[in-house]
Amino acid sequence: MLDFYRRLHRAISPSSGDGDEPRTDGGVVSDGAASGPGAESDRGAVERLKAAVDNRFGADFVESSIFWLPPFLLMGLFVYGAVIWNLLISLTDYEGFANAPDYSNLDFEMYTRALADSGFIDAAVNTLILLVAFTAGTLAVGLLLAILIDRGIRFENTFRTIYLLPMSLSFVVTAQFWLWIYNYNNGIANSVIGVVGLGPVSWLGNQDIVLYAVIFALMWQFSGYAMVVYLAGLRAIPDEHYEAAKVDGASTLKMYWRVIIPQLKGATISAAVVLMVFGMKAFDFLYSLVGGYRPPNGADILATKMVREAYSNSQWAYGAAIAIVLFGMALAVIGPYLVYEYRRNNL
């Protein structure tokens, strides 16, 4: 393979030798060279600057920047630029039909308003419950499925495909399915608990239950994802570890608990981070459940409250403030994760 590319390269190198080489110094140089006697010193300055930059950042820094810098700037503008802008908007009193916020008068009024708003507190608590319960539950189900599938079964691919299937569906689509399942009169949920003599329960109408019903639906959609991540983690564990545990006479349960699961720490952390992010995006699901900005009573989370305040009530600045709180929550999860990955040289 390598040889083939060497040969391929030799075949193409004559043109690269003198055709591409000058251009890699950046278009500036050739422009300078064309413009007469002063060009020589210009060229020297540019060269020296380039050399200095390359010294500091590494040999290919300038030449490679054309590849990553424009996308980085685009993404930086839309992500970091927007978050900072959002922070700024949250400090204004922007609301109603005005075209743009008035940036001259900044204060934390929107944040104090949030703390005094019981709807905000409820939504924040619900967000935390959703994140913790959804993440923990999904990880547990995913781990169990991964262990079962990893036991050298037949039709492994078929099972894996089925378990992961819900994840390929949109929240908008799965919300329709679960609306039908949680339907009071002839939904599956009520027929299932009817078998053991319970119910019927108004899954989406009861304030104390609805959040957990939503969490259950989200677990259904994403436990396949956790399974795939754990499966990759299990495959990375050498067979000897299983055998050693067997030789020591450990029971299967003990083997997994003491030997295998501790080695899945990395998989758990990365899956948990991604799941929490999915959890914060549960907006799509809740919106589609009711076909509007107001989720069922008792299931309001920060993500839905933010969009409702901004796009339904035109309380732009208040929405932006809620968004900043949500962003802070996300940062509390992602920040340590990225530092951890950076330390492990995993980036």
Partner: protein, 315 residues
Amino acid sequence: MSDDKLRTDGSGAMATTTKLRRNLERMTVEDIALYVVLVLAAGFYLVPIESGLVTSFKTGTAIIETAPFAPPGASGFTFEKWRTAIDALLRGMGNSLLYAVPATIISALVGSITAYGLTIPNWKPSYKALVLALIIAGIFIPYQAVLVPLTQFWSQWVQLGDLLSFVWALGIDDDYVGIVELVVTHVAYGVPICTLLFRTYYKTMSDEMMESARLDGASLRRVYRRIVLPLSGPMFAVVLIYQFTQIWNDLLFTLVIVSTESSAAAPVVLILAGLGTSMEGQDFALRMAGAFFAALPTLAVYILFGDEFAEGVAA
């Protein structure tokens, strides 16, 4: 497995049966319990989907009279809901394709180029890691934190609608500016995940190959075009599938950029979210039919390229 399927002559079938029987004999109670659990789990994942599918073919009375997961009887069977759903959603499907396909292709290309610039060229690893960390953090941003500025950006700062006035002069509804905005938005927010996926792939590429090419005087552009890009095929499959599913399924951006389902440019998810709700209550059969119709492209992609999808989500 595919080998077994290909063999159609008798001897092959016989061999398969003997093999199967031998396997069955070797099965222990534990194995059987394992398979029972696995099949039950499969049922758990499939029942909501199956129940939706059968419901979408039921008449109003069949919905009340039959169990939610039971197929409709001959008398309760109807295509009517599908017809209504397709009527309502078809234009949305077209609109969704109109932004999902370009946005997917562009973001995959951009991701590949970005990942290349941050992986193969030789510059200080600590600075590379810093840029990468900033990019990767973008994957995890809750999009709510950028929505209000995004609305401001598209409605006040960048008047794409005016810039593209020559397009509207051709008789295209100017709501379609939302489609262009969606493409740009999805590409911008797709850069992080696409870069990450390509980077994990490029990290495993042989350094020697690149270095010898570089020593021969090849520019970075040439190394990318002649060596890296032709080898990126498998990863492009993964990224294209992942991005397409994500973009097709996303509701939030379409909601704030296109905003109303009555808009000529309304994507399918936006119309579906409001389908089947009316004064008389909810028409579940219509909702299910709509849900399936809207999910067809992603389902097709998943069934055809399940392995690539799994690889994409696992990275």
